[in-house]
Amino acid sequence: MTKLQAKNIVKHFDHNGNSILALDGINLNVEEGDFICIVGPSGCGKSTFLNIVAGLEKPDSGEILLNGNLITTPGPDRTMVFQEGALFPWLKVIDNVEFGLKMAGIPKDERRQISERYLDMMQLAKFTDSYTYQLSTGMKQRVAIARALAMDPEILLMDEPFAALDSQTRDLLLVELQLIWERTKKTIIFVTHNISESVILGNRVVVFKNRPSKIKKEFVIDYRRPRLAEDENLQKYYHQILEELKSEVMAHIKDENL
């Protein structure tokens, strides 16, 4: 069943008064339970695309359909895990996780129960009453994931959530995220510039072209899980994607030097 449909999404940036075409007609069908990774050169508009799906930005033309319904505003049915976590420093860990649930009017006991369940899943049970500055970057990202999952969204959106992590923490979270995906059967769209991340996580990997961005190619990664970072059998996928991406990255560097 098609969960989410992006139809011909076009978006311009305003850059020093010039209008730059960032997304030039993105078409994407996301099936229920898909784990889609979007890779592309930096600045190609993949995060913008995710923001449009989240409803935080509006496309110039085109539309996003969730379960067949048009999306125009942000909503808890599409929760996002941001690159920097975006936890609220004035709230304790547990209150961060409960934030959206409170907004949704869920009673206190139930809120607490849900939040504790996801913090448990993220192995953060000991830190429910900590403030966010007391956590490491990796722990913060786990709280952010717990917060997003607690909303029980239709789709989980992840915008380079592991980019700021050290590689050991990242490897652990890559496995954890796969386990969570299998357990919760969530539909996930995961944006990254890291090819190996996309190969490990995605059952589909979508490659974005350099600006103006379109979908260049899509790969289906049919391989057992949990996939590990050091698994050599993933190399062939890695190289196929790298081959596609190389010319785009070169084009991006050229653009930047202009």
Partner: protein, 267 residues
């Protein structure tokens, strides 16, 4: 474990601070006493510490000091409350109506640094030689800090907090109450501290020039009667109140928020 160490360090630190302050005070009074004994100035221009202490006893005994403190603080609290309420409202309006906000904030440098005393003649002629005139001076001296800090604190909130909150379904008043306000709080407190110090400057100045009661007034009476003891005693009182309010109230508040946010964590 970690927490214990920090706790120990701070309690030790505050003891050191108190000892240092006491030492500083003793040295200061000592130098004062020595200068007094050297007899460079006549007694009437520079009384000894003991004579000032006697003046303290005198103005406490005849109630003029406690009454003055009460009157001044009552005025100050009233004016400051008006400043915060109005200043916050105008600050919010500046955010809501962008053109208005931009214009007003570009006047901010002039409005912020405008000397409070310069409002006094205007206030006397407009409102009169009364409490309301004094309140006016104090409000005008502190309201711009509140306005500008409300405006800039809210505008400087990292957009990612608002995005994250909207993403979880927050909007309207809920978003304002649970994200905008707390996210702006550390910076708002700085604005309030600044406004408080402007208000404190303003009220003493206004009372010297346009009041028949209050701390500024007993200061000015001391001058009229060539009573330097009373002048210094009033000055010490003004200093002490300013210090106490900032340390015990505003600084504590600031520190609490900074600690919760972890803003001093790496220092």
């Amino acid at each position: 474990m970690n927490e214990k160490i920090i706790l120990k360090k701070t309690s030790h630190g505050s003891f050191d601070d108190a000892a240092n302050a006491a030492l500083f005070l003793a040295v200061f009074v000592g130098i004062w006493q020595i200068v007094f004994m050297l007899g460079i100035w006549p007694k009437i221009s520079l009384p000894s510490p003991l004579m000032v202490a006697e003046s303290f006893v005198k103005i406490i005994w005849n109630h003029s000091l406690p009454v003055s403190i009460g009157v001044t603080l009552a005025r100050l609290v009233t004016a400051f409350a008006v400043s915060i309420a109005l200043g916050t409202l105008i600050g919010l309006a500046m955010i809501k109506f962008k053109g208005f906000g931009k214009t007003l904030s570009s006047f901010s440098a002039g409005l912020l640094s405008f000397p409070s005393i310069a409002w006094v003649p205007f206030s006397i002629l407009l409102i009169g030689f009364n409490d309301f005139g004094i309140l006016f001076v104090v409000v005008m001296s502190s309201i711009f800090s509140i306005m500008i800090s409300t405006y800039s604190s809210i505008r400087n909130i990292p957009p990612i907090y608002l995005d994250a909150a909207k993403n979880m379904g927050a909007k309207g008043f809920y978003l304002f109450r649970h994200v905008t306000i707390p996210a702006a709080t550390p910076s708002l407190i700085i604005g309030i501290r600044q406004a408080w110090s402007f208000a404190w400057h303003a009220i003493i100045g206004a009372e010297i020039l346009m009041s028949i009661v209050g701390l500024g007034h007993i200061l000015s009476v001391g001058r009229d009667f060539l009573d330097m003891g009373q002048v210094i005693a009033s000055m010490i009182t003004i200093f002490a109140i300013g210090l106490l309010v900032d340390r015990l109230l505003l600084f504590k508040l600031d520190e609490r928020v900074r600690k919760k946010w972890g803003l001093d964590h790496h220092r």
